[in-house]
Amino acid sequence: MDMKSIYLTIVLLPLLGALIAGLTCRVIPRALAHWITISSVALSCGLSLYVGKLFLLDHQEVFNQTIYTWMVVDGLHLQVGFLVDTLTAVMISVVTFVSLMVHIYTIGYMSHDEGYQRFFSYIALFTFAMLMLVMSNNFLQLFFGWEAVGLVSYLLIGFYVKRESAIFANMKAFIVNRVGDFGFILGIAAVAMYFGSLDYVEVFNKAPQLSDTSLSIMGDGSWSVLTVICILLFVGAMGKSAQVPLHVWLPDSMEGPTPISALIHAATMVTAGIFMVARMSPLYELSPTALSFVLIIGATTAFFMGLIGIVQNDIKRVIAYSTLSQLGYMVVALGVSAYAAGIFHLMTHAFFKALLFLAAGSVIIGMHHDQDIRNMGNIRKYMPITYVTFLIGTLALIGFPGFAGFFSKDAIISAVHASSLAGSGYAYWMVLAGVFVTALYSFRLFFIVFHGKERMDDHTREHLKESPWVVTLPLILLAIPSIFIGALAIEPLLFGPLFEGVIKVLPQHDVLETLREEFHGIGAFVLHGMMEPPFWLAMGGLFTAWFVYMKKPQMSEDIKQRLLPLYNILDNKYGFDDFNQKLFAGGSRALGSLLWKGGDVVLIDGLAVNGSAKSIGWFSSILRHIQTGYLYHYAMVMIVALLALLFWFV
């Protein structure tokens, strides 16, 4: 098989599976639906891993080809095509692998759900859309994939169509993402105008020529075109990758079933923004302003969203805020031009966060779909596999030395430290403090759920048992990379020539260079890491969590009472939701009513349309008085008129 057919197969198989399962979802048996979609995604995953191997080990040539022409108009060639290089290879391997795990897991998680076939169809469709996004060789298809994953996310968040909170959350997710896409499409419009093309390679090659071009947006202020383009595109990423202030949809998206929280809202879709910026590195490198913007947004998200995780009581929401915070870390990496570190963290995070969500889902199955951690406790006794894998995920998340997250997070923090970009000082403190916060909320969750007193009711306790193998197998298969992938991948991804010609970093921005010089093997890296502040901060967080939630369980309540104002701020999520609800949602409705009632109904219809109709009616009603039909009236008028004329002429 030539490479083009391989890539086409990778993309189209999940689509085929989704279509078959989706169109027949009301007639085919459950098992058939999952066999069709799972085998299509498994094949796609096998091929993706094969492609991954070709690129990572065998130095496969970059593939860049058009599949078909969407349209040609005005010299603009818009196409659908694939660009497969090392970056794509990493992404498709991660996406299809996590997707496959989630597919298998779903058999167990959704076993009692009536929308079983439909669910499989959706997640297979999602896999297709995500693959289109990461394999695109142009902005148009990128936008297609971008919106298509948004569509499936919409369908899946609202999967439980009867639940009011779910159907509110999915609408909110779509609209907030559309705010990001508003920026994104303007960015694409700017690219189309200034580059005359939407093809990646053409755009990237031409980018340096445009570094001096500027456009005036308002008055005399002129902006570098590249800065404008980069910021606009990043606004799209802020929506999809849930960065402040467009992050508000992600916690609510937890209304969807847990498998998709793992797949879409942790491992893959939300990292699309990270991937996009890394892909666009030849543009971002030319605009330090945009990079600073990216950096500050990311750092803010990384720290402040982590804080909220401490006060959440829904098992999935804690992990959701953790995802926000970790996405912030990735964005910080992009901001300091350590794109490779961002992608590295994206990869490790995909494994351990999918693991955490799926393990949380396993707990939720055991708890009969109760997600409140205040009703849990000591679950390790009943669910040993879930317990161990959750612990592995947690350790990877807090960056415990040797685990996957350690390598990627350490790389990011060192990169920020080495950066001299405007805003990097702020970012450094944010990501450093974030490490403590991460360990604190992670182990708070871990201790409350798996240790301590058993707080569930008796009925639940009686039925509490380890989940079936279709659930635990994916946990184990995800736990393995959550431990090892960091150690294995750090050298090729960060210090090797893998991303040469794929990700562009200007020499003056190359913060990973320092790291590269100091790197003397995995062992030394781990040992060195244990002497750095992040390690101690993580330990501090772990210890604090243990002390507050295990050692002195009543203490958390004390702290809450003492820091009530702070607690309220966190509990209200800094007020973003209320603000949006009042100002944007309420404001739009008020404006709509005003324009409708005031503009259309009163001014246009009332005054202009019906008004003119009425005034004609009024005018004719006056005229009507003249036509009385009485002969003597007419005779009278004639005589008077004759007299008048007579006087006039005489």
Partner: protein, 506 residues
């Protein structure tokens, strides 16, 4: 070979004559009239297909031309012809009419033969509007179009249909009177009613501005543009489903078509002079009307406002041309905006038709168009819900559907005229999604709103057939717009080459 036959005349007169036959078949045997009507509509569609297959997309001149003297004293001709701009609209007309007839199949129980006949006659007249190249012939078709639509709303319409029909009639009729004056004025200048002759005729600025304004009123009412749009929501609300579909899918396009066939080429200098006005009205339509759509309580009104907002993209795409041409940094893009406007018209034809049909499906079951009377429709009508969500997404401009193509092209084109035009136009991504999805949330999702909703029957085969045909069209145009773009390209290029040259004599 086919090109030698008077295909355009066939496409116009087959449905009109067929319509009268259906009318004569009477209401005693409704099934005979239904099948006869369907046969005529399908026949017309088949007759119209060679217009596409035998179309030479490289040819600048009008194709399938038919020309005969009609009223020789005034040099009025029976003069027909199509180019890449009108041909797709004719096919849209013949295609949508079939669906409308099927959609009204057993729904219309009162006077079915007259209903079917009205739509067939309407179809022929609309094809006539799109293919007439003589000013008087155009005007006759243009005005004749009002009669069947007036009857459709007036006979099969809702409770407030009298107000709606009068408003509809007065708006459109007043709009077109000045157009007649403009046509007659140009006749006195050129000695004929040849529209292509009008396009070549030199006119000074004052004449151009006056003619432009006369046309503007006629076309703006049809599109409709803000602030002469208020007839549309009323007409839609009162019209039966089929009437709404034809109104939204085709009649609105006649306004957009008028700008391309008359305003821009006949009065290019006035168009350039007044482009600020047109752009402002278009953006007002996109933004203002978007907000108005958000607060509608009646689904048909909501979709009607959404139509106005989407049609704003059409006029925006057409009239940003001059500013794009004037912008030295723009790297072209005039063609992009114009083609985008055209694609938007065709796409809106599919999507608005589908949206109105969806509302019609619900109306047939519950006899209400109010959002509050629904909720949780997905529980009783899952297949319908899937279609409705799909078309709603298309309405919100999701890539992969046709709704995206035109909006995308117009946004990236208007960016070249002024970044702020693009910013305002792109707000439709947010507002459009907001009003569409909010409606979907309240109508389709949730617990079944009431007993009546819970017992609604899902789509029958006929409805599935109609909606899936439209779904296929929406996807096909969204995934591969090239075939449509390719037939239009030469004609739009030709149009552009005309309008950038001043027509002011001396």
């Amino acid at each position: 070979m086919l090109a030698d036959l008077p295909l355009l005349s066939f496409t116009i007169w087959t449905p009109i004559i067929g319509g009268f036959l259906v009318l004569m078949s009477g209401d005693k045997t409704p099934n005979v009239s239904r099948w006869l009507a369907l046969f005529v509509a399908v026949l017309t569609f088949v007759i119209s297909l060679p217009l596409y297959s035998d179309f030479d997309s490289q040819q600048v001149a009008m194709q399938f031309v038919e020309r005969a003297s009609w009223i020789s004293q005034f040099n009025i001709e029976y003069y027909l012809g199509v180019d890449g701009i009108s041909m797709p609209l004719i096919l849209l007309t013949t295609f949508i009419t079939i669906l409308v007839l099927i959609a009204g199949w057993e729904v219309i129980q009162s006077k079915p033969s007259q209903y079917m006949a009205a739509f067939l006659i309407m179809e022929g007249i609309m094809v006539g509007v799109f293919s007439a190249l003589d000013g008087v012939l155009f005007y006759v078709f243009w005005e004749a179009m009002l009669i069947p639509m007036f009857l459709i709303i007036g006979i099969w319409g809702g409770p407030n249909r009298v107000y709606a029909t009068i408003k509809f009639f007065l708006y459109t009729f007043l709009g077109s009177v000045l157009m007649l004056v403009a046509l007659i004025y140009m006749y006195y200048q050129s000695g004929s009613f040849d529209v292509l002759g009008f396009q070549r005729m030199p006119l000074n600025m004052t004449e151009q501005v006056l003619i432009f304004l006369a046309f503007l009123l006629a076309f703006a009412v049809k599109v409709p543009m803000w602030p002469v749009h208020t007839w549309l929501p009323d007409a839609h609300v009162e019209a039966p489903t089929g009437g709404s579909v034809i109104l939204a899918a085709i009649m609105l396009k006649i306004g957009g078509y008028g700008f391309l066939r008359f305003s821009l080429p006949i009065t290019p200098d006035a168009s350039r002079e007044l482009d600020w006005l047109m752009i402002s009205l278009s953006l007002v339509a996109v933004v203002y009307i978007g907000f108005v759509a958000l607060v509608q309580k009646d689904m048909k009104k909501l979709i009607a406002y959404s139509s106005i907002s989407h049609m704003g993209f059409v006029t925006l795409g057409f009239f940003t041309v001059f500013m794009i041409a004037a912008n030295s940094q723009a790297n072209g893009g005039e063609l992009l905006g114009m083609s985008g406007g055209m694609v938007q018209m065709v796409s809106h034809g599919f999507i608005s038709a589908a949206m109105f049909l969806c509302v019609g499906v619900m109306y047939d079951r519950l006899h209400s168009r109010m959002i509050k009377d629904y909720g949780g429709v997905v529980n009783s009508m899952p297949i319908f819900a899937a279609f409705f969500v799909f078309f709603a997404m298309a309405n919100a401009g999701l890539p992969g559907t046709s709704g995206f193509v035109g909006e995308f092209m117009v946004i990236i084109a208007s960016f070249r005229a002024d970044i702020w035009f693009a910013v305002l136009a792109a707000t439709t991504l947010i507002i459009g999604a907001a009003y569409t999805l909010w409606m979907v949330k309240r109508v389709v999702f949730g617990e079944a709103g009431n007993e009546a909703v819970a017992t609604m029957k899902d789509l029958n085969k006929r409805e599935v057939l109609v909606l899936s045909t439209l779904l296929f069209a929406v996807l096909a145009l969204g995934l591969s717009p090239a075939p449509l773009i390719d037939v239009m390209n030469t004609s739009i290029e030709n149009l552009l080459s005309h309008i950038v040259i001043s027509k002011i004599p001396g």
